[in-house]
Symmetry: D3
């Protein structure tokens, strides 16, 4: 069975992430949405929240599974016997970052391939960092994230 | 009366900011230079200093006013009944950042328009972060900022 | 009266151009859409067609006027006693091109200012060259241009 | 059976194209290398040569087929009942071009998805235009193209 | 003796080229300004004019010599026993182009090194193509090129 | 004697840095690899380690010397009576950053020139930050750094 991994920090998940997940789910038999747990960073939403929100928001997609991982992404991919990573591209700066990460991964794991989707134009500006900043400044993140995510952000910022 | 807002953190104000202010002041009946106060950040110059320095440096422009604001820029614009934001563009990375911010603002406030000016070529390299780094390393920021700003930086770093 | 010029070749006019025209018309008392006539180039649509199509498509905007010009844009602006140019930005490559043109114009006419609007995200991919190529390959340009423009393109390619 | 199309002009085919073909062939059950025939352009190598060279160079890949097409790529994809396009990305300027083409295709054919691979670093500089220019200036294109392509170029330039 | 080559088409030479020549002349014992003669292109100024104009404009620099070359730049460099090329960078698009050319040259001639200078900010917008377009549209190229070049352009366009 | 400085933080040194050092050492009589000591930052490897690692890794290059410096780079260059800085360029984002730094240095020290080398394609993705992140996530940095650097990283992370 062909599995692909869509990795990220999803802090918080946005409509842009969900667009990539829906489209990638149509390309692979199984899609694992993989939340990287980097213990040294101070997250906006706890990883448990991100995991349950993503699970809820992808509930209508039968072949999508949400998991967390520690350590290197290529090691996690191998532990699932997966050879395909999926990433979204929005802008030039994304491309440069993804280029560097993909090249580093290829040096460490030449057998793992990365496929890119271009984010739909209406989400091409949308980054988790924008959502965090709008929320912290007292704005309503509803134009950018599903209702359940907006509610969790509101709870967290109280 | 047509008002425009030129927002920023101006930490510190540079000749590049003053170039944009002078040129924008010629395009609008009233220009509000708006210093965003983000309480969570650790500023280089206190917001009071930035406000007084900008007020002093724009004293020769009768239609320019310096203000501070908390929270979302689009909310501040609405509180002034202002529908125009002005921003300067220096480089490709500026463009990508401004594109994201403008799109997010448009999603939250479709009635507010953002107009961009391209920074004059002799200031196209000039960012507040460059001034901060040069100053912290013991360099003289005078080529990049007005004398009053250079003096305030010197006082602060003593 | 404050006049702005929105220059271009508009070969053909697209929904992206019309978005910029509508938004710019809200910022100025009078907006001149100025079609540059470069006699050495081999146009896709004759300049008369572009002029009549733009006039028709902007008929609902009382303060918009369509004109053609020969020679340098800054000379044309001066002949109208206009000191403001408006341009749309879609992407990084646009920015670099516009940066060069704006700097060259500033060297020749320091009193003329250029203001930029960022194209709406749903048109950020849309260039006249895309419309020309799709049309030449037998595709329907209707997703990209108003019906009157699509009809004129169909007539031309017959 | 899941088919993907790798479209291009391949004028001439390079080691960079072959890298993408080999990697894409590992991701899909069937890969169609599709040479776009644009009758208005003056090609470097005739389309028949490009077709036979690509067929020869991909002979070791059982699931790869070389075809030519006229007209719009999305129409060709539909004629094969194919819903996936594959493209290679080398650099920022590639990304911007591909972004525009992908968005235009999506507007015309929302059911067709485009997946991107990042070209291996040793081919990140390599474009057909570089090969054409080196060859025309009397240089040896062997570092950039397979021997059969180099030989065909030599024949053509005689 | 350490020689460097500054190659280009210089059609026409601009103040930007002269800035790079002056600065590069300070870094090497001998600097050869090398005009590439590409017989297939239709030049703006004949190569003889470009050669005499560059010779005149660099007359005050004792270690600068102007030459023309046919064929590949790396072959010309070897014919002079020169191992260093110098190029100017103005903008991101320059960088991408130069990156590709440098990588292709390195593949063909690993012993030849390319060094880059960043063009002074007041010339960062300045390309020969801008000068050609301004001149063809009837504008005065004097802000961009030395008087002798402006005069030659005027003669040519008569 | 012509001296050049190759400045950086080298935290840690990578194969990419060593490629630039080897190539720059071939261009100048003396090359000083200069580690900037910024007391306010929290380094990954202590400056003493970086200094000894670079000294060891460049031991085969007779004209290379490793030094540390505090304060502004241009002041350090003057203290060595050096007028040439060398930097490596990998990607577009590098270019923008280097452009800004070079322009700021030029404003402060017009007599100091910066020369750029383009990093070899196989290292174009390689940044110290990639090495730090891979190492912190438990990965083996050996594909990116010399054995002595990998060993020092392993010791540090224990």
């Amino acid at each position: 069975m062909r599995t692909a991994i869509y990795p990220g920090s999803f802090d918080p998940p946005t409509y842009g992430h969900l667009d990539i997940i829906e489209r990638a789910a149509g390309q692979f038999e199984r899609l694992v949405v993989a939340i990287g747990v980097n213990t040294s960073k101070n997250p906006f939403l706890p990883v448990e929240d991100r995991c349950s929100l993503l699970t809820e928001c992808t509930g209508h997609l039968a072949n999508v599974e949400v998991m967390t991982f520690h350590g290197l992404l290529v090691d996690f991919a191998r532990s699932l016997d997966c050879r395909v990573l999926v990433r979204g591209l929005r802008a030039v700066s994304d491309f440069e970052y993804e280029f560097r990460v993909t090249m580093a991964n290829r040096r460490m794991a030449p057998d793992i391939e990365t496929l890119f989707l271009i984010t739909r134009d209406e989400y091409s500006f949308l980054a988790s960092s924008v959502v965090r900043e709008v929320s912290r400044l007292g704005g309503d993140p509803s134009p950018f994230v599903p209702p359940s995510v907006a509610q969790k952000i509101a709870e967290r910022l109280k």
